[in-house]
Subunit: 127 residues, 2 copies
């Protein structure tokens, strides 16, 4: 008999986090519902394909990460982490996810786009 | 005899949140340690005076807020919320705070500066 976790949403959020910070986007996507809705800084993403298109380029420039805090309960989890990426040395982010049947169905994603915009502008100016 | 809260850091984070989202910066500052360190998107803030200078202008443009999720334990709390401000209609933020003796001693503050930068640029262009 399986023992149910007291915090299934946190378990899923952490497994998802562990996967994408290990550059395993395929595994990360197994925790994302097909009809996921994600409110990201640039706007709303609808569905797993759009979500993957959003995460893919980020995972490619990711050079390191550190989990700062993670809490959750039956349906909701809240995770904060720092990331190190090629253009930006410290880019902390936070995600609040809703989990149903082992998959993330909604995500509110917060991070600061300003340093990424600045890095892009520098690249354009120097390129 | 007082009953100790099982999540004193969460209690402080929520009381602080309630105060500043009610535009009561004086009360909010009673939950901030004199030697607070805050890592905000624009860089590190050292001490309560710098922290207040950072929060003051934001509280002045705040027109609404909604708590999205809040979790915590003995020493750490993680809070996510949405804010409505005069220049930016939806500006979600997240804070991970360390609490000691009833005061926030460290805060990692995440929000997207990009829409605020864009609003400022529009104001400059139209002004």
């Amino acid at each position: 008999m399986m023992t149910e976790s007291p915090r299934p949403a946190l378990d899923v959020a952490l497994a998802y986090h562990q996967a994408w910070t290990s550059h395993d986007l395929d595994k990360a996507m197994t925790y994302i519902a097909d009809d996921v809705v994600c409110d990201a800084p640039a706007g709303r993403l609808d569905g797993a394909a759009a979500y993957r298109e959003f995460m893919g380029p980020f995972v490619q420039i990711l050079t390191g990460s550190k989990l700062i805090a993670a809490f959750g309960d039956h349906e909701t989890a809240l995770v904060m982490y720092d990331t190190e990426t090629m253009p930006v040395k410290s880019a902390p982010g936070a995600e609040c996810v809703t989990v149903k049947d082992g998959k993330i169905t909604y995500s509110l994603f917060v991070f600061d786009r300003a340093p990424f915009d600045a890095a892009r502008n520098r690249a354009v100016e120097s390129g």
